[in-house]
Symmetry: C2
Subunit: 282 residues, 2 copies
DNA sequence: GCGACGTCATACCTGCCGGGTATCACCCCC
DNA sequence: GGGGGTGATACCCGGCAGGTATGACGTCGC
């Protein structure tokens, strides 16, 4: 199957509509219909059930949507990494993706240590929202990522543990009544009156419904906390990033957070290997 | 990039020769040259250095070889799994791949337990040589595999531990002088006069050089041991598969072998999930 | 050192197929 | 029952993938 056909199938599966899919693909509707029909004929499987309102996915169509996305990511990754490996200069650089505003202490230490290594290459640090890291790693826009278990989906990546934060704190606006507490539980934090937990964007950029403010990165998050609009539980190590607008209270029953370095398992990049070796020595 | 182009690049990279690559692809050499040139132009990168004897890979070419194979596997997996999901009957089946002749006790127990579950689907068990399992899982010919850590490469798969074998034994031909020993070390096993460790095929089917006999699966292996042509260290649990031609001696310093159930991390298959749930309860 | 050979690149042609426009068949709903 | 919407079909056109013939350019052997 050609990637063009995969893109067509994924577009139709996502739009549930030939016309909109064609528009998104920048082609007319009839060629799209024909291409999908041809794919279905070759696979010997109906992918969509045509209704007067658009299309529904069959089981096979649902499978091809998931698998096709993964395959398209892999193709995009191949292209991007090749282009980068050929980079203008002979020094291929590495792209590390981290959450905007996440605790930078450990990462800075890692990058400093790596830069001191013989044969170290330039590392571009890219910051983005939490849900964007995994797709970036999958489609080759990034080579390594800083992820946090158990919050990020680390399935399918190789990992090296950087830090394990057993202690966690609740970050509150300075002067909030709860700031005087000696400790809190997760359940208590979730029920603080007038201070809901924030909402993070999903993979597609949309937000789940709820009362909390919408935040896209940790910088926004901490600002919202300082503004008295949100409360959040974070690893103890973020205390170094806080300022006078914040207060912290230990949370006694929070899960252990592990900060890990993650990379695609088939990566054979010497640069990634060097970074991992450095990380394993810290 | 189209999969056709990826196939071309991978073929040339593997053959190190335009003519042979073209033959393998079933096309003439000139269109292949043109297609590769076009890819290079679009990527803005030289993939191959042309020599009078064929071609060498550039760094970018090496990257695209590795990444391109992964991408082609993903595309093939998408196609295969879709075709299977659409299967003639409404009962999509699951393909489990295991080593030929590997200890079947645990697997049999797992499959029996799964078959008793409500909603269980048919499980096709496919046996193959050890090095073939990983590619089969990657390109969609299989949905789940039985792998053995630390010998198999489990990078990039999700895992569920089935058994942990702490005790391991050296399998010898019955009547061999060493069979009388009370215990052995790994180093001693490697040095048994006249009984080298066997050689397994690599991913591409070729064998590493050395003295040991060439074996492709556990059945052949145990036969070679019985014939006095090889010796091997295996988990204690294989004792159930041995017959009178074999003798076993405990190996005191062998690494722990873990038998795991492995599947592609993005798998959303209900059938795989059910099998994993069953495994986790054993 | 010069031809023979083998490499990959180039030139040119052809037929297929991907894409466009126009239109149809069908369903839903007012 | 007609209008607006869906996807399917018919037909045409241009680009490009593939083929053959040939060239440019090394290496090797005599």
């Amino acid at each position: 199957m050609e990637t063009r056909e995969l893109r067509y199938v994924v577009a139709v599966a996502e739009e549930r509509h030939f016309g909109r899919a064609a528009e998104r693909l920048g082609i007319a509707q009839p060629p799209l219909s024909r291409a999908i029909a041809q794919v279905e004929r070759r696979l010997g499987a109906e992918l969509f059930v045509r209704t007067p309102r658009g299309v529904e996915l069959t089981d096979a169509g649902a499978v091809l949507l998931v698998e096709g996305r993964a395959a398209l990511d892999a193709v995009a990754a191949a292209e991007r990494r090749t282009r980068r490996a050929a980079g203008v200069d002979g020094a291929p650089s590495l792209v590390l993706v981290s959450k905007a505003g996440a605790s930078s202490e450990v990462v800075a230490k890692l990058l400093d240590a790596y830069a001191a290594e013989p044969g170290a290459v330039d590392v571009d640090v890219v910051l983005c929202g939490p849900a964007q890291q995994e797709p970036m790693l999958r489609d080759g826009r990034a080579d390594v990522a800083i992820l946090h278990q158990p919050f990020d989906d680390t399935a399918g990546f190789d990992l090296e543990v950087l830090v394990t934060d057993t202690a966690q704190v609740c970050v509150l606006p300075a002067g909030h009544p709860y700031a005087a507490r000696k400790s809190l539980t997760v359940a208590e934090v979730a029920e603080i009156p007038g201070l809901p937990l924030p909402r993070w964007p999903r993979r597609d950029g949309s937000f789940p419904s709820g009362r909390g403010v919408e935040v896209r990165d940790h910088t926004q998050l901490l600002q919202m906390v300082a503004l008295g609009r949100a409360v959040v539980v974070l690893p103890d190590s973020v205390r170094t990033d806080l300022h006078e607008g914040h207060a912290t209270v230990p949370v006694v029953d929070a899960p252990t957070v592990t900060t890990v370095l993650a990379w695609p398992p088939h990566s054979r990049s010497l640069a990634v290997a060097g970074l991992v070796r450095t990380a394993s020595r810290l």
